[in-house]
C-alpha cells in the first residue's frame, strides 16, 4: 500500500470485538490479523512510535472482558502494544454536520489524537443495517456503551462517526466471514478509505451499496470515492469471493423475525399463554 507513514507517532488499531464471540464465529476480528498489522507497521515505520489496540464497550459487551476472553490481553502483551478501552478516560464530545442536521458524538481522546487509525473490521452482514464493515466498525468506537440508543438515527450516526474519526487504512478480516452462516473465505482486503472499502464489501455480500442507506449518505457526504473504484486482485478474484460468500437476505430476515414476534404476541394476548420476558422486550 502506497501510504506515507512519515511523522507517525501514535497509531490506533481498531478491531471489531462486538461481543465475546471468538473469531471462529465470524463475528470478531481475528487476533492474527491484528498481529500482522502490527508487524507490518513496525516494518514500515520502525520502532519509534506507539501502537494502541482500542475498542469501546458495547450494549452487551464490556471491553475489559472481551480483551481477556478473545485473547487480546495476551496478544498485546506479546507484541508490546497498549490496550485501550475507549469508553474509559478522557471523553470529548464532537459535533459534525450530516446533511442538514448536526450530530454530536462522544469519542476518546486517544482516538481523536491518533496520527494514524487502522480500521480492522470484519466482513459480515448485520441484522439492522445490512452491511457491516469499515464504517460500522468506526461506529463501534463511539465511547458511549449503550449504542443501541442510536439505532433510531443510525444512518446519520454512522456517517457522523466516520466524518469525525477518519480511518487512514482499512484492513478487513475476511478469514472467516459471516452472512447466513460463518464461512472460511481466507480473504484479506485493504483500502485507504472506509467508504470505498465498504462499497466493495457490500458488493461481495450481494448488496447494492447505493441502496444501503448509510453508504448512500456517506457517498453524498463525500467521505470517500464510491464511483471509480480501483481494485487490485491478488491471488483471488473478487467474483470468486462474492460467489463463495454465504449470502443472506437482510430484508427477508427482518420481515420473518418481525412477523414471528408479532404473531407470537397476538397469540399470547388471545390465548392467555405466557410470553417469556426475553422475547417481549
Amino acid at each position: 500500500m502506497n501510504y506515507n507513514f512519515s511523522g507517525i507517532k501514535n497509531v490506533v488499531i481498531k478491531p471489531n470485538l462486538c461481543y465475546y464471540w471468538p473469531a471462529s464465529t465470524g463475528e470478531t476480528t481475528d487476533g492474527r490479523v491484528v498481529c500482522a498489522v502490527i508487524k507490518y507497521l513496525r516494518k514500515r515505520i520502525g520502532n519509534d512510535f506507539n501502537i494502541t489496540v482500542a475498542e469501546a464497550d458495547a450494549s452487551a459487551m464490556r471491553t475489559k472482558f472481551a480483551f481477556s476472553v478473545l485473547g487480546y490481553d495476551e496478544l498485546c502483551q506479546k507484541n508490546n502494544v497498549a490496550l485501550k478501552n475507549l469508553s474509559e478516560g478522557n471523553i470529548i464530545e464532537k459535533t459534525v454536520g450530516v446533511g442538514k442536521t448536526d450530530v454530536t458524538l462522544p469519542f476518546n481522546e486517544v482516538l481523536l489524537n491518533a496520527d494514524l487509525i487502522v480500521d480492522v473490521p470484519k466482513l459480515k452482514t448485520h441484522n439492522f443495517v445490512g452491511v457491516t464493515c469499515a464504517m460500522k466498525n468506526i461506529f463501534g468506537s463511539i465511547s458511549k456503551p449503550r449504542k443501541y440508543t442510536y439505532h433510531d438515527n443510525i444512518v446519520n450516526v454512522i456517517v457522523a462517526a466516520n466524518k469525525i474519526i477518519k480511518s487512514d487504512i482499512v484492513v478487513v478480516d475476511g478469514l472467516i466471514v459471516r452472512g447466513s452462516c460463518p464461512k472460511k473465505l481466507g480473504v484479506i482486503m485493504a483500502s485507504d478509505n472506509p467508504l470505498t472499502n465498504d462499497f466493495v464489501a457490500a458488493k461481495i455480500m450481494s448488496f447494492n451499496p447505493k441502496r444501503v442507506p448509510y453508504l448512500s449518505l456517506a457517498a453524498k457526504e463525500k467521505i470517500g470515492e464510491a464511483e471509480n473504484i480501483s481494485i487490485i486482485e491478488d491471488g483471488v478474484k473478487l467474483a470468486e469471493i462474492k460467489k463463495n460468500f454465504p449470502h443472506y437476505s437482510h430484508t427477508m430476515h427482518s420481515i420473518s423475525w418481525g412477523a414471528q414476534l408479532k404473531l407470537l404476541k397476538a397469540y399470547t394476548a388471545v390465548s392467555g399463554d405466557v410470553l417469556p420476558p426475553f422475547l417481549e422486550k
Binding site: 461481543y19 465475546y20 464471540w21 471468538p22 464465529t25 463475528e27 458495547a58 450494549s59 452487551a60 459487551m61 464490556r62 472482558f65 481477556s68 476472553v69 485473547g71 490481553d73 495476551e74 443501541y148 414471528q260 397469540y267 388471545v270 390465548s271 392467555g272 399463554d273 405466557v274 410470553l275 417469556p276 420476558p277 426475553f278 422475547l279 422486550k281
Partner: protein
C-alpha cells in the same frame, strides 16, 4: 388460596412470576427487586413491588416465596424467608458451594419450613419420555449415559443485547462457571435417572481466561449399579433460543435411547401446533398447556405447578433437598479433582520438558 412473593425480578424471576400467576389457587401478592426497570415490569401485571425483599416479607401476608436471586445472595434470601416461616422455591444452583448449601438446608430444617430447588430440566417432555423408558426397563441396564449441555453462557446476549451481569464472571460471587451453571442440571438428571454417583474424573477448561471454568467434562461412576455417566458442559456456543444444544444418551444392555429422539423436528412447526391446540383449549374453556409452544420452557410452568400443588396438598416435594445436596457434593468433588488433575498435568508437562531438554543436550 396460596399467597406468594417473588424475590428477584430479573429474567428468571419475571418468568416465574408469569407462571405462578397462572397456577390455580395461587395469588402472586408482590415482588421485590433493586432494579426499577424490573419492578416496572412486574407492576405492568398489577403486582405490587418493593425495592428490598425484607420489606416485602415483613409487609405482606405470604405463604411462600420464589427466590430468583444471584448465587451470592441466595443464602441470605433463604435465611430471611425461613426465619419468617415461609416455604421456598429456589432457582438452581442451590448455592455457590457445598458448605453454603449445607447451611441453607440446615436452616430450612431448623426453621421447619420447606424448600424446593427448581431443576426444571426433569420436566422437559423429552426427558420425561426417556425416564419412562428407563424405569420400564425398555433399554435394559444402563451401562453408559452421556449428557451434553453447551450454551452461550456469558459470551452471547439473548434476543435483546444487554450485558451479562458481572457476578456471573466472578468465582467469589457465582461460585463456579459452566459446571455449576449447566452441569448442575445434567448431574441432577443422571442421578434422577440412574441413582447416586461419585466423580472419577474431572477436567475443567478456562479457554476464555475468566475466573470461572467455561467448559468441562466429568466422569461419574454409579454407587449402586454398573453405570458410568459422562457430563459435558460448555459456555462457548454462540447459538441462542430456539437452538438448544442439550441431550442425554442412554446405552443399555437392551438398546439405546436419547432425548434427541423425542424433541420436535422443527421448533416452529411445534410452536404452531401447540399454539393451535391451546387456542382450542381456550375456546373449550379448558386449562392451557402453558409455554408448550416453546417446548423446553413449558418445564418452568410445570415445576411451578408441582411446587404449589405440594404446598396446597401438604404432599412431599417431587425434588428432595437431599438429592440437591448430592448434586452439590458431586460438583464440589469435580472442582477438587480437577485441581488434582491440573497439578498432575503440570507435573507431566514439566517431566516431558525436562526429558526434551535432556535429549537436546545429548
Amino acid at each position: 388460596m396460596v399467597t406468594a412473593g417473588i424475590i428477584g425480578l430479573g429474567h428468571m424471576g419475571q418468568l416465574h412470576m408469569l407462571n405462578a400467576m397462572r397456577v390455580d389457587g395461587v395469588e402472586v401478592v408482590a415482588g421485590a427487586d433493586k432494579s426499577e426497570k424490573n419492578r416496572k415490569y412486574a407492576e405492568r401485571f398489577h403486582v405490587k413491588t418493593y425495592d428490598d425483599y425484607s420489606k416485602l416479607i415483613d409487609a405482606e401476608e405470604l405463604d411462600a416465596v420464589i427466590i430468583s436471586l444471584p448465587n451470592f445472595l441466595k443464602k441470605e434470601g433463604v435465611f430471611y424467608a425461613a426465619e419468617k416461616g415461609l416455604d421456598i422455591f429456589l432457582d438452581k444452583p442451590i448455592s455457590r458451594n457445598l458448605a453454603e448449601a449445607q447451611e441453607m438446608v440446615g436452616k430450612v430444617e431448623k426453621e421447619n419450613v420447606r424448600m424446593m430447588v427448581g431443576v426444571n430440566y426433569r420436566y422437559f417432555p423429552c426427558v420425561q419420555k426417556l425416564k419412562n423408558r428407563v424405569d420400564n426397563g425398555e433399554i435394559g441396564d444402563t451401562l453408559i449415559a452421556t449428557s451434553e449441555l453447551v450454551l452461550n453462557g456469558p459470551i452471547s446476549h439473548a434476543v435483546v443485547p444487554v450485558p451479562v451481569p458481572e457476578w456471573w464472571l466472578s468465582k467469589d460471587l457465582a461460585g463456579g462457571g459452566a459446571l455449576l451453571d449447566l452441569g448442575y442440571h445434567l448431574i441432577d438428571l443422571l442421578s434422577w435417572l440412574l441413582g447416586d454417583f461419585d466423580v472419577t474424573y474431572s477436567i475443567l477448561e478456562n479457554k476464555m481466561h475468566l475466573s470461572v471454568e467455561d467448559a468441562g467434562t466429568i466422569v461419574l461412576k454409579s454407587k449402586s449399579c454398573d453405570a458410568t455417566g459422562i457430563v459435558n458442559v460448555g459456555w462457548f456456543s454462540k447459538s441462542i433460543f430456539p437452538d438448544f444444544n442439550f441431550r442425554i444418551n442412554m446405552h443399555g444392555t437392551v438398546g439405546f435411547d436419547s432425548t434427541d429422539r423425542y424433541i420436535p423436528a422443527d421448533a416452529r412447526i411445534n410452536a404452531v401446533k401447540e399454539g393451535a391446540l391451546n387456542l382450542i383449549r381456550r375456546v373449550a374453556g379448558r386449562k392451557l398447556s402453558y409455554l408448550s409452544y416453546t417446548y423446553y420452557y413449558s418445564s418452568f410452568y410445570k415445576i411451578m405447578d408441582l411446587f404449589f400443588d405440594a404446598l396446597k396438598s401438604g404432599a412431599e416435594f417431587p425434588i428432595s433437598l437431599e438429592k440437591q445436596l448430592d448434586v452439590m457434593r458431586i460438583i464440589d468433588s469435580a472442582y477438587r479433582l480437577n485441581k488434582i488433575s491440573l497439578d498432575k498435568h503440570s507435573d507431566i508437562v514439566q517431566m516431558i520438558d525436562s526429558e526434551y531438554h535432556l535429549n537436546e543436550v545429548k
